[in-house]
Subunit: 124 residues, 2 copies
Amino acid sequence: MPLHLTNRELDVMAVLWERESATVAEVLDVLSEELAYTTVLTVLRGLEAKGHVRHESEGKAFRYYPTVEPAKAGEKALRRVLDKIYQGSRELLVARLLSDDAVSEDELRRIRQMLDERLGEVER
Amino acid sequence: MPLHLTNRELDVMAVLWERESATVAEVLDVLSEELAYTTVLTVLRGLEAKGHVRHESEGKAFRYYPTVEPAKAGEKALRRVLDKIYQGSRELLVARLLSDDAVSEDELRRIRQMLDERLGEVER
DNA sequence: TACGAATTACTAAGTATATAGTAATTGCAG
DNA sequence: CTGCAATTACTATATACTTAGTAATTCGTA
């Protein structure tokens, strides 16, 4: 099964990942866009058909759970951005990612820390 | 104009970015997939209609040039991956990006260097 | 336990995307 | 300057995606 998510499916999965699980009503609540209840349901049913979520009954509603990790789903998208936009250069991509002024110094430090550890491994 | 690229458009733009410019035949040559000549032409014409490329005559063919920067096009896609998959955490995204064994030590060092410089700015 | 609001099941339709065929055009080789 | 191979212009079609309506079902409540 070639884990591919459409834009709308990604919106919905993001909610499930964020909250661990959600009902149709909850997803609808989180998504700011004006979607019909049945639209969200249709998307979830599609995701279930593809095996990307499962559900359990809860009262009269279904509670949906993701069955794939976000990173797994992101791999392809990230790979594509990396290859097509940044010509495979992680450096370029990271540079771009951190060029945003909104990035906190704290976050930068944590990322550097991470790199230190990673490089530490390589060296010894 | 809301710079949005479909998958196939991105494939084609990637070639233009990579080579600075290209004719239909050249794009076709780079894309490994089996596409009809006219298919690539159609995509390029679409991109031109949206103002993402322009062309000049060269012999009997057209040479197409990108009119948008890759980073500009990537912003949205990257933002989406960041927000939806990594819940806005650049740290998570970078971690994932560098977790690949294929990343060279050299590249890791360059990225750390970049971070050092960035942090240097912040400190002073 | 019967009603009703909420939910699920089924169906459909508009729009976007991807692909490519045929017709018209073009410019270079002979 | 003419033929033709390459190219562009125009048109069309199949599939994927998004959205949501109506019908059937369900469970809590009165």
